[in-house]
């Protein structure tokens, strides 16, 4: 079985400040990891994914994440946020084998203040 924990339900931050959204996962096999963003009244959009190779993954809109196997984490970071980054962010894990169905975390609401 696979599971995802997003430790923060809400993260408030000021514009141009750095931000880290935390994600920890659990799986008995090797994993693929994803971060999605959901703006109000829109579907999910893929920010970035780790499939293999370099553990530091760069995505769209200046976001990056680092896969840490020993800590079973995949935290999302951005060095300087904008008002437009205000949204809900979801971490997801897919275990290798089977039908590759993702399990999503509960989400973290990033609120960027001017």
């Amino acid at each position: 079985a696979q599971s995802v924990t997003q430790l923060d339900s809400q993260v408030p931050v000021f514009e141009e400040a750095p931000v880290e959204l935390r994600c920890n996962y659990s799986s008995s096999v090797s994993v693929y990891l994803f971060w999605y963003v959901q703006y109000p009244n829109q579907g999910l959009q893929l920010l970035l994914k780790y499939l293999s190779g370099s553990t530091l993954v760069k995505g769209i809109n200046g976001f990056e994440a680092e896969f840490n196997k020993s800590q079973t984490s995949f935290h999302l970071r951005k060095p300087s946020v904008h008002i437009s980054d205000t949204a809900e962010y979801f971490c997801a894990v897919v275990s290798s084998g089977g039908s590759y169905i993702p399990t999503f975390g509960r989400g973290t609401s990033l609120i960027v203040h001017p």
């Binding site: 009244n41 579907g43 499939l51 039908s99 169905i101 999503f104």
Partner: protein, 116 residues
């Protein structure tokens, strides 16, 4: 179309009624997924189609939920005898071929279902 579309965008129904939710995937995408997202939660998998057949329906919560994709493109999620607990956002996604993580899933805007 350019992306995944879902209709209706909002559906309000009464407890015990039957509802159908429609998903139009990106043209040419053979894989289609349905998820349910309750308030304050992440999406939960319901069912995955590869072509016309359900490759994995392990997420359907009970036999009131059923989905079809008769021609391998448009899919309909059907809910019988709706209950208040069925109220949620229903998301559809499609990917070019198969469910392997190398194939990105593209999500539609969702249908918000409210059962009174």
């Amino acid at each position: 179309g350019a992306g995944v579309s879902q209709t209706p965008s909002n559906k309000v129904t009464e407890k015990g009624k039957y509802v159908e939710l429609r998903c139009d995937p990106i043209s040419g995408h053979t894989a289609l997924y349905w998820y349910r997202q309750s308030l304050g939660q992440g999406p939960e998998f319901l069912i995955y189609f590869q072509g016309t057949g359900a490759a994995d329906d392990s997420g359907l919560p009970n036999d009131r939920f059923f989905a079809v994709r008769p021609e391998g493109s448009v899919s309909t999620l059907k809910i019988q005898r709706t209950e208040r607990g069925d109220s949620a956002m229903y998301l559809c996604a499609s990917s070019f071929s198969g469910s392997h993580p190398y194939n990105e899933q593209f999500f539609g805007p969702g249908t918000r279902l409210t059962v009174l």
